[in-house]
Amino acid sequence: MAAVQLVLQAQDVHTYYGHSHVLQGVSLQILEGQIVALLGRNGVGKTTFVRSVIGFTPPLRGRISLFGRDVTRLSPERRARLGLGLIPQGRRVFRSLTVEENIEVAARGEGGTSLQDLMEIFPNLNERLRVRAGKLSGGEQQMVAIARGLRTTPRLLLMDEPSEGLAPLLVQKLTELIRQIRADGVSILLVEQNLPLALEVADFVYIMERGRVVYQGLPEQLARDLQAQSAFLGI
């Protein structure tokens, strides 16, 4: 294999919810160290794609490989152990655990990004370590969810709409954070509706529409392609 490794390779993925054919042949790949953005309107299948990669809704047809290994039939927990991390949509924290417990439960007894290092990234969480996560503000909960995702030391991190509902100032912070995560050697699949954020950080962009990839290219390309933006993103 070439020097640059494929961390994620999805080939012709077809995923169903019951009889409804949600993903209709999605192919997407991420190279090591890349930030790849997956854009698209609500309900086009972005989250379903994330669930297929994680293993919650395995594809009926097609193939998903992580780090060069076919994982199409592996359970989510096995995939996680290979180095796949998820920051789920909508600030999913463990509400009755404290901030510290939320983060430490992700360590699974192994090494990983230490709590100390994470507190340097999220200084405002530092003083709230013993507070129950359910009592935090939305923005803080999102930070906890991201910190938890990083505590597992993923090689590939799936971020499902991390900017959703965040104040502009926090979105700016998130942008820096995503860059920082990548600088630490983590590849990222960024699922977003926020086009400026995606264009700012991504190395490559995919757009989905009705369960298919309808556009792929470099972010600079998409930034200029106003026709594609209005057709697929309604901007």
């Binding site: 989510p76 927990e77 999913r92 463990f94 655990l97 439960v105 699974r108 007894g109 597992t152």
Partner: protein, 314 residues
């Protein structure tokens, strides 16, 4: 509840319990010993109900199995009482290990029904298989052992024996729920999928917690068999499971100390109220309804809320 309140409260409670034999009459001492035995069941069950969100309606199975496992070799084969205790605990543990394989695959009401069925099958067995279990007559004449030269036939010695087991079990379980494993169980209760994404094999943890919970309940079964020097099919019956489940809910699921306190208080209340009326279960039912109305997360959680309100901050 902040440490400021609960450390002194627990300390006072333990101090009171340790002084019971010098303060109260014989009848009350026995009652509280019995209460502590139920408190052990309550704490064991709380691991499942409170920390994993799995309501068991069959925990009497492990309670009764431990009692029968003790009684049969001791009374029929003349084994020593301590050896019998080992057999009893082993019986409960093996039953939990086998039944747990099936039970941890179920959730919610399915878990409730499968544990109920499991318990009732054993109860049916104890009633019908008279040659082994003595049927409705049960097995009388279970001897109490000696410990460090003290005979547990001595009532105060027996009380302190139960007290010591209660304190040790409570301490172990508190350490358990505060440990990382305890947090993992809470995580699984809140979101199985999120824990899977973190790489956890939830089923394994659920199985472990189920076995631990059953084992702790078995310890209480051994104590109860020594206490009564008798075991009968009632100790396997679902109504006992239901009472212990109510105990956990009334005390406050997921607090350990709540169910422990409720265990002691309900045994005492049952005896006091039974002096006045025969309708104890009706009183228990009313208590349950009142709890659901005014303290749906249990009495301890209600108290915690009231204390928090009285403090100006937070």
């Amino acid at each position: 509840m902040s440490r400021r309140y609960w450390i002194p409260a627990v300390g006072l409670g333990l101090l009171f319990l340790s002084a019971v034999p010098t303060l109260l009459p014989r009848y009350a001492i026995d009652l509280i010993a019995q209460g502590m035995i139920f408190a052990i069941v309550g704490m064991g069950l709380d691991i499942l109900v409170g920390y994993l969100g799995l309501p068991s309606l069959g925990h009497a199975a492990f309670f009764g199995l431990a009692s029968y496992g003790l009684a049969i070799p001791v009374t029929r084969l003349g084994w020593a009482p301590w050896a019998g205790a080992g057999v009893g605990l082993l019986t409960a543990a093996v039953a939990a290990a086998l039944f747990g394989l099936l039970a941890v695959r179920c959730r919610g009401v399915y878990f409730l029904v499968s544990t109920l069925a499991f318990g009732q099958v054993l109860w049916g067995g104890a009633v019908k298989w008279t040659s082994v279990s003595g049927g409705y007559n049960g097995i009388p004449g279970i001897p109490r052992p000696s410990l460090f030269g003290w005979s547990l036939w001595e009532p105060d010695a027996f009380y302190y024996f139960v007290y010591a087991v209660f304190v040790v079990v409570a301490a172990m379980l508190v350490l358990f729920v505060l440990s990382p494993v305890g947090k993992i169980l809470t995580g699984i209760r809140e979101s199985e999928s999120r824990m899977r994404v973190l790489g956890y094999r939830n089923q394994l943890y659920r199985y472990m917690a189920f076995s631990l919970s059953a084992f702790v309940t078995g310890i209480a079964g051994i104590l109860m068999a020594y206490f009564n020097t008798f075991v009968g099919p009632d100790s396997l019956h679902w109504s006992l499971s239901a009472q212990t489940l109510l105990m956990v809910i009334l005390g406050g699921a997921g607090t350990l100390l709540g169910p422990a306190g409720a265990g002691i208080l309900l045994v005492v209340a049952q005896n006091l109220i039974s002096n006045v009326t025969e309708r104890w279960t009706m009183v228990l039912g009313l208590l349950y309804v009142a709890t659901m109305l005014f303290a749906p997360r249990g009495v301890l959680v209600l108290l915690r809320g009231l204390l928090a309100q009285r403090r100006p901050s937070s």
